[in-house]
Symmetry: C2
Subunit: 132 residues, 2 copies
Amino acid sequence: MGDKRTSSGFLLKQRAFLKLYMITMTEQDRLYGLKLLDALRDEFRPFGYKPNHSEVYKALHDLIEDGVLQQVKRKKEGMKLQEVVYYRFPDGGYEKAQLYKRQLKVELERCESMIKKAIRDNYGYVESATNP
Amino acid sequence: MGDKRTSSGFLLKQRAFLKLYMITMTEQDRLYGLKLLDALRDEFRPFGYKPNHSEVYKALHDLIEDGVLQQVKRKKEGMKLQEVVYYRFPDGGYEKAQLYKRQLKVELERCESMIKKAIRDNYGYVESATNP
DNA sequence: CGATGAACAGCATGTTCATCC
DNA sequence: GGATGAACATGCTGTTCATCG
């Protein structure tokens, strides 16, 4: 309630997309902000998607507000003794993360369906399972 | 050049999506604005996507500016003699439309790939080709 | 009330600036 | 220069208002 504005329900927003990746990346390697960004840029370079640092930070801050992530300031390994911000799940955060991931899965599949439909509708494809 | 702002290259925008549908719908049935909207809403209801009338009009106006569509004001069939705006391709418009469609196909496939990748990356799916 | 538009408003996101090491 | 943030600017898009028949 209290929403001033409703979404028309088109494709998912970049922010949500990034939050999902932040969670999964936290489950796997422990990384800090800019490294997460680098990793994502590498992954999506072939797709022409190049997120900027602000969006990544905002996604991380969102997750902190949601109680999904927690900051851990540590010295960067080797090099100079610069402090960087790593992330981990606080108490109950992992469960919230899994819930979020479940929701995003539904959302991603919805988007995939919509895009497939658009390809079908506009280019007359009929997903042949028996193509030579 | 002259772009004040660059896209990070995330998913395609609703406007482009609608423009594509407007073109295809113009190739098929001749419809006017609000009927196009109704048709789209019907099609995408199962997906929870409900475009609003402004976006549809803006998409149509964009296509007119692009020289892809042309307005044809006609009396609405039956009923009262209210004038509605139908659309057709002006000279050279059909070719421009086909070009746009070709571009959007690439874009839609790019988005599909990104979404599939996200599902793989975050849920560890491996597209089984042998599912019952 | 249906249809078409345009003005307006709010939110998503890209760019720039500030601070610290 | 790398890293983190916040402020600022722009643009996409949803809501509202105006006009016409």
